[in-house]
């Protein structure tokens, strides 16, 4: 949804800045959901969301007619990438493996629950194995439910490039996961 009041960058007044801050904060929970799904750690997600809001408010002039939500997602993407790049430089050993919530049929035995959990974790590993842009293109489509044009706007790419990334991502998942998952499952939407 386009935010019409922001189509004239440069006309910044104190009140506009405050309004802009409020508009940014209105997407706080969506930003948090976007971030936590990618970084896993609630504390890191909080920090990155705060960083994103800070950057957005500082750089509001750069919002030139774009959709505010997608613009914020783009900033968040960049900050997440910074965080991962920085993480690689530091000797950190992560203790907590984020556990995937499942909502299993209570009549399932624990073993059956364990199998389901395992398949979900396996899928997560495969997705995380994807090259960064492919993964992001796929996650923006599936998690944020964005159309290809919207994904293109967030990623700063053409629609054709996004289509190609998503297709390659699905192909990779099929190739890597075929010994574990059914082809029908990996085929995407049924």
């Amino acid at each position: 949804m386009k935010d019409e009041s922001l189509v004239q960058p440069g006309l910044l007044t104190c009140s506009l800045s405050e309004d802009f801050g409020e508009k940014v904060y209105s997407y706080l929970h969506q930003l948090y959901a976007f971030t936590i799904r990618r970084v896993g750690s609630p504390s890191l997600a909080e920090e990155l969301v705060a960083e994103t809001c800070h950057d957005a408010i500082l750089c509001q002039r750069k919002l030139k007619g774009q959709d505010l939500k997608l613009w914020l997602f783009g900033i968040a993407r960049r900050n997440i990438a910074y965080a991962y790049r920085d993480k690689k430089r530091r000797r950190e050993i992560s203790l907590s493996t984020p556990l995937v919530e499942t909502h299993c049929d209570p009549s399932l035995t624990p073993e059956e629950v364990a199998i389901e959990n395992e398949s979900i974790m396996r899928l997560r590993e495969l997705v995380l194995r994807l090259p960064g842009n492919q993964r992001e293109a796929l996650l923006l489509q599936y998690l944020e439910q964005l159309g290809q044009e919207e994904v293109a706007e967030v990623m700063g790419k053409s629609v054709q490039a996004v289509n190609s990334l998503q297709q390659r991502a699905r192909n990779n998942l099929q190739r890597w996961g075929c010994d574990y998952f059914d082809n029908e499952f990996l085929g995407g939407k049924s």
């Binding site: 920085d86 950190e92 203790l95 073993e111 629950v113 364990a114 995407g188």
Partner: protein, 538 residues
Amino acid sequence: MKPRNLESGVNQAFPAQQAPDDLRSRVEAYRHKSPIRPLFKGTIAATALAAGIIAVFLLVPTQQAQAGYNQAISNTMSAKTAIIINRDANGNEIGRYYYKDGKSMLAENGGAICNYTQGQTMITDLKTIGFTIRYDIKLDLNPLRFIDPQRFQSTSPGVLSHEVKTDPHGQSYDQYTRTQGNFRSILDVSRTTKSPFAYHHQMKVQNEWRTTGSEDIQLNEPVDDSLVAMPTYNHEIIDVSVDSAKKWTQSLEAKPLGTFRSAGSDAKREITIYDVTVTQRGDIFVLFTATNYRSSSRAHLLSVTDNLGTAYALQENFDSHQSWQVRGRPASELAPFWVGGKELCARWFVPVNGQPAKLPSEISILVDPTQLIHGTGSIPVALTNTTLSQKEAARLMQEVDRVGKDLRLALRLAPKSLDQNVVPPYLMLFNHNLWSIDDVAFLELNAIASYWKDRSDLPKAEKALIEALKAVERARNNMGTYEHQYEYSTIRQYLECLKQQGKTSEAERKEHEFEQNSLAYQSYKAAERDEKPKFKRP
């Protein structure tokens, strides 16, 4: 719910989590922090720079540098800071850690500064006389778990005692001592502020309690419920020299169970196991010595236990002629330790084309540690009396290879309280990443129950299910990966097992008890009746 397709699977694999209610206030507060922050993109970069500044100061150990160091620390810290000062057995300061709003930590570790965000492990080697103590600190979101003596009492295993003591200034304080085997942890808590101010750890060596280290805890402000996080500690991992270990094991009356050799890239690796125990919590406790290791490029070998029994991890560090006492997660974590070349991995219930494929259950796979197992990927430890011949071991290896790659082997975790006749000879293999110790024990016991039900031996199945209910209770109390559906499913199986044995009145009595005492049972029964549960799921 089983994912129907890739999109639903990805949504389950990357679940959203609810944002904290005060997210906005945290975000707004965050924007007004350290002056160096705005210069850099990303908090991590900012703190990395701060770490770099601090590291530079550390290289110049002058008074001025110390002042700069302190200033750099305070610049990056907010008001809510906890400082933990570690001391060796002689009381010398050997390290300190700073918690920034409980969200990240700067640690002085032998001169290096590491920045860890909450939920990550910090590894510190603190050299003391004759001992190396390795710490894992898991930052705990709930400060009450650590600072609340009642929580300390209820969530820590072992025997707990309490005294009111008086410090040199005549101030009274509470001292809580938790003793578990040959380890003791002592928490000193101010009676006025109710906050801990010191934490000591001792190890019993040759019938004497020896202090192995301590921490002074300084909080910048009085503790209240709004303090975000405080650490929980694992202090019970101690490296000793081989000679000391031998004396120690003699003092513990531990006898060698056997020696393993593993050929492979780290040839002539020899490991002697002295003791294996499984605590009531289901923790594996392995005492062993290792010789002839080359130093490894892998990360440090540690085990992590927090006092809630969750999130264990083991990593690897080898120095020759040293030994470890390891208390931690299943052997899937230990498995890399034993690898010379290829890792021994196996999966339980491997889905093959979407269908689970069980491994043969008749194979006895627990290796008699008195046997020497050659080749890659030996199974190191036996927890029962079951033995595996060389031929059976070879057959198992073939089965493991056939089943697939990227699998994990785990130890049996059947509690010693379970009648050993109830423990069948079969292999319990699973992906260790998913569960805590108590979940592992829980799944193990459910599998044992299934084994005996398949063979119509209901009394043995009943015994296993009773232990499974104990395990799920531990998981619930330890707030691990406990799930209501696990408890509910086990209760149902248990009641069904009683009814199948004709114990109808006992089943009815037990069901009434569960309806009164088990939130899980209440919730799912209510859901079955299409009613709202009376209580919210924690």
